[in-house]
């Protein structure tokens, strides 16, 4: 037992890989493959629960650390660790794993064990990325995510799957290559690949700017940040349902995780310099994503663009450099994983039945599939941030954090523009709901559709439950990440501190009779420029 618990991170990370090997080498029958994959992912989830329950929320540094010297006389080591941020994202990953595998039961019918094998390898890569504390190790896992995803999209995807898969792969790779250059440069400066040694470097201002740009590029493509987002709609639409769910649920969070863990603490000057541009891009992403989502005829593409919009919120929150904003951003990563994951699963349900995703092919579905309609509506409401569900907590804290940020220039304007995303989100989601579910049953083909099966319900209910749980008790997450975020933002103290005089900002009304001026930046924030 202690052999497992002493190296729990390694176990959690590599159990899926072992499962994949077993699938590819040993298993023959489809059904066996499915069962094995499901069991492996459930085991992985249980193992990760051990992390959850033994995590000490009173510490902000890494726990469950494993470190073994690896290459070049210890300059590169196999170093895994988990702080609060990694923990919650890992929990999301292991939680989604079995659900995704369960969702493929009838969706993937050819080459089942290859698919499940790839999926498990992907799990390993994702978990490793979250745990890695050695930069080379991180980079290996980071790149390793691309390969199974490429195959999943390229083999089991839709009509334009090759195009989408290649686009996804190359686009992400291009960004990553710049990050690699940055990592190598830092290695030569620091003498080892340890993250902590990188953090201890005192880099000159100009260098920080370049390196920040390099790292940020890689992560920005992943998130995706406007205008680097165009791989996402294609990848989502062409990927099989399970692929979309894991893509939206976890892979996109890699980008924001990377920003928070690496790009921001390593290059504070870069953060300060680029924050205005980044926040503008984030806000553009929020609004642009919503507007383009509105006019999509394909439901999956609509949800894909909505992801661009939602993750704009996360990026904005991260760059507000307020505890509220950053914690809200981390929380929203989870909330988005749940709600958008659910939405893609729900789209998959209807696709399995009708093999079309076009809104115009539906209409009046609530008459024939009331349970499905209900689930879809709940997921939609979570997505648009109805209070009581997880999405609201994230959005509210992000916006409040952004609004009150003394660090971000024009913070209030950014927050106000971003808040309009709340209205737009309601608009396009409800309009889609109406065209798909309400009104008369227009197409005869929809008449006999069966409602959700038990398996489908089992896949969706856990997600819905957590949408409610996190909506009402976000402390579950907040408590675990609070100190870790404080620690991660440590190097940015100077920048954060420049923003702790926000309150007296505001309004310049001499007497309340006159009008009001809403915007006033603190002098300090302006000096930062």
């Amino acid at each position: 037992m202690s052999m497992i618990t002493d190296h729990i991170l390694t176990w959690v990370t590599f159990v899926p890989l072992l499962g994949a090997l077993a699938l590819w080498l040993v298993v023959r029958r489809d059904l066996h493959a499915r069962i094995l994959a499901l069991v492996v992912s459930l085991v992985d989830f249980v193992l990760s629960l051990h992390l959850w329950f033994h995590f000490d929320a009173g510490r902000g540094d890494d726990q469950f650390v494993e470190r073994v010297a690896w290459l070049w006389n210890g300059k590169v080591s196999y170093h895994l660790g988990s702080d609060g941020i990694s923990l919650v994202l890992v929990m999301l990953t292991t939680f989604l794993g079995p659900l995704i595998i369960l969702s493929t039961w009838r969706a993937i019918t050819s080459r089942v064990r290859e698919f499940l094998g790839f999926f498990l390898v992907l799990q390993t890569a994702m978990l490793g990325t979250f745990f890695a504390r050695d930069m080379l190790l991180f980079y290996v896992f980071w790149e390793a995510m691309l390969i199974p995803m490429y195959f999943i999209i390229g083999i089991w995807g839709g009509q334009r799957r090759i195009y989408a898969a290649v686009k996804f792969f190359i686009f992400t790779m291009v960004g990553s290559v710049f990050m690699l250059v940055g990592i190598l440069y830092l290695y030569f400066q620091a003498g080892s690949m340890e993250l902590t040694s990188f953090l201890n470097l005192n880099l000159p201002h100009q260098t920080q700017l370049w390196l920040f740009a390099a790292f940020f590029l890689a992560f920005a493509i992943k998130v995706p940040v406007f205008p680097l987002h165009t791989w996402l709609p294609d990848a989502h639409v062409e990927a099989p349902t399970a692929g979309s769910v894991v893509l939206a649920g976890v892979l996109l969070k890699m980008g924001t995780y990377g920003m928070l863990r690496f790009a921001m603490p390593l290059f504070p000057d870069g953060v300060a310099y680029f924050a205005p541009a980044v926040s503008v891009l984030a806000v553009i992403g929020i609004i642009y994503g919503a507007l383009v989502a509105m006019v999509q005829p394909d439901i999956k593409k609509l949800v894909a663009y909505s992801s661009v919009s939602h993750l704009g919120f996360v990026v904005l929150g991260l760059f507000s450099l307020t505890p509220l904003g950053v914690t809200g951003g981390v929380f929203q990563m989870l909330a988005h994983g749940l709600s958008t994951g659910a939405l893609f699963l729900l789209v998959g349900v209807i696709y399995e039945r009708r093999h079309t995703r076009l809104i115009s092919d539906f209409g009046g579905l609530a008459h024939v599939m009331p349970l499905y309609a209900t689930f879809f509506m709940i997921a939609t409401l979570a997505s648009i941030g109805l209070p009581g569900l997880a999405g609201f907590v994230g959005e509210f804290t992000i916006l409040l954090g952004t609004f009150s940020s003394g660090f971000l220039p024009a913070a209030k304007v950014m927050a106000i523009l971003a808040a309009s995303g709340v209205v737009l989100g309601a608009f396009y989601m409800l309009w889609m709901l109406q065209r798909v579910f309400f009104g008369r049953l227009v197409h005869e083909a929809n008449r006999g559709l069966p409602d959700l099966s038990l398996r489908e319900v089992l896949v969706l209910v856990p997600l819905l439950i957590f949408m409610f749980v996190l909506g009402v008790h976000p402390g579950l997450v907040f408590d675990k990440v609070e100190l870790s975020i404080e620690k991660v933002l440590g190097p940015l103290e100077e920048q954060v501190a420049s923003g702790t005089v926000p309150a007296q900002v505001l309004l310049v009304a001499e007497d309340n009779q006159s009008g009001f001026k809403l915007l006033g930046a603190t002098p300090e924030a302006e000096d930062l420029r």
Binding site: H367, L386, G388, F396, V423, A503, L506, G515, F516
Partner: protein
């Protein structure tokens, strides 16, 4: 049982009802489902009464019961609890919501008896009560907001209840989205509050808690105008004021009890409640107050004019609601918060009655809603008619019905606070109100029935489950105003007295704002005192009597005119239209084309912009086409050029070697 614990049950029991009806749905028989739903609201009502009675037993200054379910969000200084609290204002709202809600639940048993979605309906209705109670009993602004959005959701679900018709679903969607636009303002207002207060809190005190906000009002004073205007944007959405009222008339697509409960008695008053709850903030900004009053006044008369020309019985009532909400806003805007709430209460009684009555009519007329084919229902639906008439007298403001007391108070406060223009607008609108209500009554109940014989055969009075609530509400429409019997008429003004501690502003609010500069504090205290003075009913009894009598006479005139124009001389209206009034008539009938204007100005361009420019142009064309696929094309072209060098011709390769070597040798020999 402790009062505190009761609070959570007042809110949660309806949620339980909703969950049971929602999850079990068809597995429950209609009887059981209906019983359960009514019972859960009934329990809420009873518990509200209990806590209310306990409040009466406390000292006036300390009438507050609080119940904390737990911490909702906690991050450093940011702390929000799941907090319920009931004070005098909360008690009034709770009693109205659960009381009228209960009656409407009973009514629905009859009205929805033949509907397939019976259980779903009651689930949604209970869910609504839950959300509304969260709103009303929320102890902090964020809990209020939870309820606020929650009622928006239930409104969406209930308006689009019969979703087989696309129009119904659209109406629901419109309601939700327009509300969200208001919520956008609300949120920004909250962010502003949060930004100001966060550095001053220590993480134990709940940000946004009303007691905390009140204590720190001094800090908020400099930004009060902005905050209040933003919050008011939210209120215009929820309470259907200009410019966000457009969803309410469309909301009539929902079942009539829904219109009665949500879009008359309770949800739409949430905006008024919110302003009343935050009175200590609003009084800090005379600008905001002026805006509230002005918007309220203009809305009141604007909506009244539209109501004049509508042919759908529910649409008339809808615009009437918008108009009456305007009155409530007007009251709050001139500082008479308790009067605004008074009108909320009386309006709940008579407007719910009007809607339920219309539901009875619609039910009798086989779902017909156009008044032009009604008529003569007075003899066939006696109970409906009598109660409807009571409500009409109430809304017109005829003594001694409830509407008189509240409306008259509002007009008096407008006049006595020096806002003569607002008084005039309100006065005018009151006349219009009487007129269009009488028109409605005449067209529906008087004269000859104009429907087809098929329909006429089925006209029958509604069952007891529907008529009993009508009677109860009629009684309330008569006596409900008496607890606000004003001083000048010999009464004790008990309603206003009860609410007084909630609205007592003045120096209290400023004392704890120790962080503000002295100047700001002074200004704030000054303003507060000014408003407090305005609040003090200047009891010039003579003037009050005069205005009261004029109001009643004016109302009676309106009623008589309505009866005259539409009954006695039924041709007048048509003559008016032909004599050039046709344009005015069309303008009013088409509600000043506001919806069409919004569509043309925002919706259509927005859609076209998103589709052609953003999607096709920028995303697919520019970013994807030029940048992404373009760079791929560049690489491909580069490759195809280089490919020419790989032609497989050995001699070409050899020749290339030769040239290369020659160049190299030459370079070497000449470089030294």
């Amino acid at each position: 049982m402790q009062s505190e614990i009761l609070l959570r049950w007042i809110v949660l029991v309806p949620l339980l009802g909703a969950a049971l009806n929602g999850l079990l749905n068809r597995r429950l028989s209609k009887q059981v489902a209906g019983l359960m739903a009514c019972a859960s609201v009934g329990v809420s009502f009873v518990l509200s009464v209990v806590v209310f009675l306990r409040l009466t037993g406390m000292e006036a200054e300390n009438r507050l019961v609080q119940d904390t379910l737990g911490t909702w969000m906690q991050l450093g200084h940011f702390h929000v609890d799941l907090l319920f609290s009931m004070d005098q204002l909360g008690a009034v709202m709770a009693l109205v919501v659960t009381g009228v809600g209960f009656l409407i639940h009973i009514y629905s048993l009859g009205y929805m008896a033949h509907d397939d979605g019976f259980q779903r309906y009651f689930a949604y209705l209970n869910l609504f009560i839950f959300a509304m109670m969260t709103l009303v009993l929320g102890g902090n602004l964020l809990m209020l907001f939870v309820g606020w959005e929650g009622v928006g959701l239930c409104s969406y679900l209930l308006i689009g209840f019969w979703f087989n018709e696309d129009a119904n679903a659209s109406a629901g969607k419109k309601a939700f989205i327009v509300n969200r636009i208001g919520d956008f303002g609300f949120l920004i207002g909250m962010f502003l509050i949060g930004t100001i207060l966060l550095p001053h809190l220590n993480g134990d005190e709940g940000l946004f808690s009303f007691t905390v906000l009140r204590e720190h009002a001094g800090l908020l004073a400099p930004s009060a105008t902005a905050i209040c205007l933003l919050l008011f944007v939210g209120a215009t959405g929820k309470s259907a004021q200009i410019p966000l009222y457009i969803w309410l008339p469309d909301a009539m697509a929902g079942p009539t009890p829904v219109s009665a409960l949500i879009h008359a008695a309770t949800m739409v008053t949430a905006g008024v409640y919110m302003i009343a709850r935050l009175n200590f903030l609003f009084v800090l900004s005379p600008t905001a107050m002026a805006v509230v009053a002005a918007v309220g006044g203009v809305t009141a008369i604007f909506a009244a004019t539209i109501a004049l020309a509508q042919n759908d019985i529910k649409k008339v009532l809808a615009y009437s609601t918008v108009s009456q909400l305007g009155y409530m806003m007007l009251a709050c805007g001139v500082g008479a918060f308790s009067v605004g709430i008074f009108h909320v209460m009386t309006h709940a009684f008579f407007k719910a009655l009007l809607f339920l009555g219309s539901g009875s009519v619609i039910h009798a007329m086989s779902n017909e809603q156009d008044m032009r084919v009604m008529g003569g229902l007075r003899s066939r639906l006696p109970v409906t008619y009598a109660t409807f008439m009571a409500a009409t007298l109430a809304i017109a403001g005829v003594f001694p019905f409830a509407g008189f007391f509240s409306k008259d108070e509002i007009l008096w406060k407008a006049w006595s606070s020096g806002n003569t223009v607002l008084w005039a607008i309100g006065f005018l609108a009151a006349g219009l109100t009487a007129f269009y209500m009488m028109r409605l009554v005449v067209l529906t109940f008087f004269g000859e029935n104009r429907a087809s014989s098929e329909v006429r055969k089925h006209i029958h009075e509604s069952p007891a489950t529907m008529t009993i609530p009508l009677v109860v509400l009629a009684i309330l429409s008569l006596v409900g105003g008496w607890i606000g019997w004003p001083h000048f008429m010999g009464g004790g003004g008990w309603f206003e007295q009860w609410l007084e501690p909630v609205f007592a502003t003045g120096a209290q609010a400023g004392v704890h704002g120790a962080h503000t500069g002295a100047a700001a504090l002074d200004v704030m205290v000054q303003n507060a005192q000014m408003n407090h003075a305005a609040l003090e009913t200047m009891h010039e009894t003579g003037m009050e009597w005069t205005l009261a009598i004029i109001s009643v006479l004016w109302a009676i005139l309106g009623l008589v005119l309505g009866w005259f124009v539409y009954f006695k001389r039924a041709g007048i209206a048509d003559a008016f239209k032909k004599a050039g009034g046709g344009f005015v008539y069309r303008l009013l009938l088409n509600k000043y084309y506001v919806d069409e204007a919004y569509d043309a100005a925002f919706i259509r361009p927005g859609y076209r912009l998103s589709r052609s420019v953003l999607w096709k142009g920028v995303d697919a064309g520019l970013i994807d086409g030029v940048l992404v696929n373009g760079s791929a094309l560049v690489v491909y072209l580069l490759g195809s050029v280089l490919r020419l060098f790989q032609n497989g011709m050995i001699r070409f390769y050899a020749w290339t070697f030769t040239i290369g070597v020659a160049v190299f040798v030459l370079y070497l020999s000449f470089s030294s």
